[in-house]
């Protein structure tokens, strides 16, 4: 299939949504946990989490237009704190269920059967089952003019990863940790074991360094 921008604009709305959400490639499956100023807990699935930088440690994700009420956005902006939790193969069905439109005041932790946990004195709730648990403070809330979405950038202030999945050089083996991938709007995959390569240099053949 070869489509122009005009062809894409003419597609049926839901077909286009599934199609365009798939072509960007494999995506992370992350649950974002927040707590409102009034104490209501919220958990929502995002497939747009992206690495922004390591020093300082920064993570971004894309928030859809906020002219309608979005509990995750409201809680992040009002409290400055949120958690990003990696979805595993055993969690993805329950994680997908958090994308249902529950009323404000309903905790998706309870409605979807995902156990919460609080770590240290961080004010937002984490997912107990997630291998990777990240506590963020809001750093930048950036408008994307092209379609009124927003890039939310957070700085990692708390990070929990089981040591058994961390290689000696800092790499985290997400396949061994059963971390799930998303494709499109509703497709979930487990990962086959990793192949790692050496740092690339011109005129030098890459080595496979793992496994």
């Amino acid at each position: 299939m070869l489509l122009t921008g005009e062809d894409i604009g003419a597609l049926e709305k839901r077909y286009r949504g599934r199609f365009i959400n798939a072509v960007t490639g494999v995506k992370s499956a992350s649950l974002i946990g927040t707590k409102s100023k009034g104490g209501d807990e919220n958990l929502a699935l995002f497939s747009s989490v992206v690495h922004i930088g390591a020093h300082p440690p920064l993570i971004g994700f894309v928030m859809r237009p906020v002219h309608v009420e979005r509990h995750t956005y409201k809680n992040i902006v009002s409290t400055g704190h949120y958690t990003i939790n990696g979805v595993t193969d055993r969690m993805h069905e329950r994680a997908h269920q958090t994308s249902a439109k529950y009323p404000a005041g309903t905790s998706e932790f309870e409605a979807c059967g995902i156990e919460k946990v609080y770590l240290e004195k961080f004010s937002a709730p984490f997912c107990a089952e997630s291998a990777v648990k990240i506590g963020c403070v809001l750093e930048d809330d950036i408008a994307i003019p092209a379609n009124n979405t927003r890039l939310i950038v957070g700085r990692i202030v708390l990070l929990s990863v089981p040591g058994q999945y961390v290689h000696a050089d800092g790499y985290v083996d997400l396949a061994a940790a059963s971390v799930a991938a998303i494709t499109g709007l509703d497709g979930y995959h487990s990962l086959n074991p990793v192949k790692r390569y050496s740092h690339a240099e011109p005129e030098k053949k890459l080595k496979q360094t793992f496994p």
Copy 2:
């Protein structure tokens, strides 16, 4: 392992880079193709491609700080055109090699053995082997204050996907298309077959819709 922001800041630089690049979860493996105003072709690997919107069809990726010369950025800003090409399992070793620092004027297509193709009258080169080929025009070039990276947002004006991988409802089966995933800085994975779920609604049990 439980680390605070201070603990992360104290990690050895390369360890920290590998570690923080891994914790955001599974990432897309994309080759971005450009051509300079002088006609030099460039191809570079990115793991930060992210869905921004379907209508209009928008894709973003994160560009590292541009105080040093970045051929991809220079070409995108000067021509307004670039391609995003999905890396497959058979390509990822050669795709990783494009991350070596080749001098300006060296085409990574040739240096890394990746065949190029031009589609319609689009001015930037595509990767012939990529199942998903996307032609973009630059829409927004947005500064991220937290660390001087940039979010580059493009609108899809040309899109090629083999029809055999497109489900009747618009979903694209990237696992069947052998599209690769990245973890961390240098880890590559193939995907296990997809499981798809129905649209989530409160008080309604999810159905598995595929396979």
